[in-house]
Assembly symmetry: C2
Homo-oligomer: 120 residues x 2
Amino acid sequence: MPFSETLKSIVESVGGGLGAVIMADDGIAIDEYLLDGSGMDLNLMAVEYASLLKEVKRMADVLKTGSLEEMAVNTGRSQVIVRTINDELFIALILGQDGNCGKGRYLLRREVFGLRERLS
Amino acid sequence: MPFSETLKSIVESVGGGLGAVIMADDGIAIDEYLLDGSGMDLNLMAVEYASLLKEVKRMADVLKTGSLEEMAVNTGRSQVIVRTINDELFIALILGQDGNCGKGRYLLRREVFGLRERLS
């Protein structure tokens, strides 16, 4: 699993991290790291977010606001930050409700540069 | 336009703000404030984000992560932060690419309390 060390490092250093996944735009998880006991179904999440990202990309086309870089969704029990790696791949970080969203956004932005190089 | 002063205050104090809109979940803009020359079609944006929010709410139901509180979308040329006011209404803040997203999230979170009281 070539990317799991990067994912583990992000999850464990962000503060309140539960898991992270690199996913393709068809909803298939390429690699993942999940804290024990988080109780999450990362595969279901990857499928749902891949579907949502297609909608956001279509919307960005309609609104002519440029290509999607990052999306964050906060709900009652979790925060999810998704960042584009390239045309086909995304990285998603899942935090608990008290997780450090700002640091999560920073870490994803920083790590995506390295992921792009390794994937090109 | 009862809410335009609140919207104006958010847009002008956030740093890099372009406009803000209170919208219903059917995509109708209830009230809005837009900087001159921003070149945006807030009505089209409201319709698109209302449609996207329905998808996010459906997804939160599927993933059982609680109700939607906030969503942020960053594209090449803009940042949009959307926050739930109640079951039917949302507030959206549009920033330029160099806008202060962190302060925008803070201001929306703070103002939504007052908006809820005035709308109840």
